[in-house]
């Protein structure tokens, strides 16, 4: 039986919320597609942190598994997303998200 965490779990979750909000801001405010991607990664990470914290609190390993899956999906997403960016850059010569509001080559 695991002892309860020395640091209150709420603190972890709050930290996660703060990071999430920062990620959100990144997505909203930056125009560089790569940076937006990185912000999304940040958001995913903050969610992961919350998951791990809850897992610690409730003493189940399932949260960890969820994080594991999120990491995997994130990897997949990054692979495809970056590939998209590269492809778009080839045709548009720009990765500014504002230049991409039309589906045309």
């Amino acid at each position: 039986m695991l002892e309860s965490s020395p640091v209150a779990i709420e603190l972890y979750v709050l930290l996660s919320a703060v990071l999430f909000v920062m990620g959100t801001l990144g997505v909203l405010l930056r125009r560089n597609a790569i940076l937006i991607f990185m912000s999304i990664e940040l958001m995913l990470n903050s969610a992961n942190l919350a998951l791990v914290a809850f897992a610690r609190q409730w003493n189940t390993i399932d949260g960890h598994l969820m994080v594991f899956f999120v990491i995997t999906v994130a990897a997949a997403e990054v692979a495809v997303g970056l590939a998209l960016i590269v492809a778009i850059y080839r045709t548009k010569k720009s990765i500014s998200i504002d230049d991409l509001h039309k589906f045309e080559g």
């Binding site: 039986m1 610690r56 230049d99």
Partner: protein, 421 residues
């Protein structure tokens, strides 16, 4: 004291994480942003460690900070995209204010949720009690054991143990019958009219014969204990009716005095857990007080293990780290011969793996989460193929390249070829 240290650490690391995130957001250079993000990820990994998620911390560093971020860096460098997007004129000047406002509202709400929800005071889900059967009944080839008519162990042979079975909390009546006898009535057990199972309990039910019939001895085991990696737990159970109290000693080194582990254990009693180093051990079972007597007799001479009369001395047993071994004193197989020494039986359980370690994650992953795991793997595969397809250039067919190479060899042998690639 420990709490304060951790708290301080948390604030430092959390602060760094937030700072790194902020720097990532604000830095104009994409490369810098990426580097800051790495710092942030490292901080999160550290927090994982503090939350007993050692395995995930490792994955976080290798996969995220290592692989994914390298990918980012690579793409940034490939496109030369460090400052690309900032040249254009900002399109939605109002967006900054709106976004800030909305996110702050979001944060406030989330914070309200978190604080109101009172996570820390919520107790974790209790574990269901686990039951295991140990058969020391020499009279039967195999027994089926029932708890309230529910079969928990089937065909457990003499000196064998069954797998753990999770049972709901509650009162139970234990009964058993010989395996394979379809019609046989279950054999009543003398002292086990009822057994109470509680949450988080791990119980080994030791079936043992008594002079009057058959009895069950519930042995509560603490498999949670995180033993040192190189240590092993040993317990002794006296389950031989009609025999006097016993004591157990470690006689791994025969020339030294036996190291007494358990003393004066009466029938039906269970000893405390003794922690030993892992490795090969020899034990000897004595009648209670026999060792003291021998020491007293010997006086100043050192008592050699070999010289003390013992009840039973099994061969060397190899005890592995992070396990619990239970030694059970049972009556001899042939009970008809009076005065014969009791037998010593042992069985070993692995202790539960540490929370958050690779073993626990892996066990869960390969059992409960097998299907999602495969789906995720497939997804990864598809993403990989997709990435290849997307980034694939309009490569001229290989045949053509071959022709070109031929043409080049005719004119400028090497330079022409490399320039094509």
């Amino acid at each position: 004291m420990e709490t304060t240290v951790e708290l301080i650490l948390f604030f430092i690391v959390g602060g760094v994480a937030i700072a790194a995130a902020a720097m990532m957001l604000m830095s104009e250079n994409a490369v810098h942003s990426a580097l800051f993000l790495i710092v942030n990820f490292a901080c999160v990994a550290f927090l994982y460690l503090m939350l007993n998620a050692a395995f995930l911390a490792m994955v976080q560093v290798t996969v995220y900070a290592g692989a994914i971020m390298v990918l980012f860096m690579f793409v940034i460098m490939l496109l030369g995209a460090e400052r690309l997007a900032s040249d254009s004129i900002p399109r939605f000047p109002w967006l900054t204010r709106v976004a800030m406002g909305l996110t702050m509202v979001f944060l406030a709400l989330a914070g309200y949720f978190i604080i109101e929800s009172d996570i820390s005071s919520t107790d974790p889900e209790p574990l269901k009690p686990m039951v295991q059967v140990v058969n020391t009944l020499p009279d039967f080839a195999g027994v089926d054991v029932y708890l309230n008519e529910e079969l928990v162990a089937e065909d457990v042979g003499f000196r064998q143990t069954s797998e753990f079975v999770a049972m709901p909390t509650g009162e139970y009546t234990v009964a058993f019958k010989e395996h394979g006898e379809e019609t046989a009535e279950s054999v009543a057990l003398l002292n086990a009219a009822s057994l109470t199972l509680e949450d988080n309990q791990t119980v080994a039910l030791i079936l043992l014969p008594t002079d009057a019939g058959y009895a069950v001895l519930p042995l509560e085991k603490d498999l949670e204990t995180v033993a040192h990696k190189y240590e092993t737990n040993v317990q002794l159970v006296h389950a031989a009716p009609g025999y006097n109290a016993v004591e157990l000693a470690d006689i791994t080194k025969p020339d030294l005095e036996p190291h007494l582990l358990v003393e004066n254990l009466e029938f039906g009693q269970v000893s405390e857990t003794v922690v030993l180093r892992e490795g090969s051990h020899r034990f000897a079972l004595y009648e209670a007080g026999a060792l003291d007597k021998a020491i007293a007799n010997a006086g100043d001479n050192p008592v050699k293990a070999s010289s003390v009369d013992f009840l039973h001395r099994p061969g060397a047993s190899n005890l592995k780290g992070n396990t619990t071994t239970v030694y059970i004193v049972t009556p001899p197989i042939q009970r008809t011969i009076p005065g014969q020494a009791p037998d010593l039986l042992h069985f070993t359980n692995d202790n539960r793996p540490a929370f958050g370690g690779p073993t626990s994650v892996g066990m869960k992953l390969y059992t409960t989460y097998m299907l999602p795991f495969q789906v995720i793997a497939l997804l990864l595969l598809v993403a990989m193929v997709g990435a290849i397809v997307l980034t694939r250039d309009a490569v001229p067919p290989p045949k053509k390249r071959f022709e070109r190479r031929l043409a080049n060899t005719a004119s400028t042998p090497i330079v022409g070829e490399s320039s094509q690639d």
